[in-house]
Subunit: 144 residues, 2 copies
Amino acid sequence: MLHPAFSDKSSRKEVVRLLTEHGITPTQQRILIAQEMLSKHQHLSADQVMQRVNAHSNTVSKATVYNTLGLFTEKGLIKEVIVDSSKVFYDSNTRHHHHFYNVDSGSLHDIECEHLAIARLPDPPAAMKIKNVEVIVRVSSKAS
Amino acid sequence: MLHPAFSDKSSRKEVVRLLTEHGITPTQQRILIAQEMLSKHQHLSADQVMQRVNAHSNTVSKATVYNTLGLFTEKGLIKEVIVDSSKVFYDSNTRHHHHFYNVDSGSLHDIECEHLAIARLPDPPAAMKIKNVEVIVRVSSKAS
DNA sequence: TTGGGTGCAAACTATTTGCATTCGA
DNA sequence: TCGAATGCAAATAGTTTGCACCCAA
């Protein structure tokens, strides 16, 4: 299941359209980062994005990667996943869903919403509204 | 609801017994940290523990606070709560439960297990076993 | 004496910030 | 042109590590 706006490895033109639609000025660096991040459903850390974008050339600085991923998140292009205290993951699947987190390998797997139901969610504290409900299922290898 | 082993603000003697029972050598610093952390059900960051322990005296270093909280977690005296990319919270409630996380104030509130049921949890990936299932309900003030 | 346990300063890592430079409309 | 975007360096904050010291066997 790919990003709503994509059907295969993102062409530059598709990426430019998508950024524009989300109110993001499509610059050279942002296009490179978006192509890497949105080409398929995946969970990448900022550092992984940095490495992939700069695998051949060396055109995007670390600060720009961080700032750009933050911008994409704010604009709703991607989502942050907080499961590990040591780093943030960015998820190109923006549909509401949950995660298996493999604590041995550090890898994430989606749990589609229709495969996990929450019954009896209590009311939030007074004067608060629910922003989202996230389920993290931490797994480890049976051996360990 | 207090820590299983406590009925009120922890006395030094109670803390020493609890540490010993969990296989932790009760040193001066560990006792101070345990008294602060375990006196009631609460969610504190390492930094908050540091400040409280050293509020009057200045006897425990930052590294020792981190190492000690890590040790307590490993020995099952407290639990880590990962809801915010900027810091880890430590929870003196070791029973299985979930959390409301107020993204405005950064405060956590327990959701007791019996108030939240999960239906249809899918099987974990092959050769993996479930370590825990954690639900985070992020809330914000209705106004914002 | 000696070896693991303890505590802390310093190191490390992820992330953010400030500002001079460059780019895109 | 000119404000927005970028890149870099340095700052920051949370956390981890390396090593001196201590204590029980």
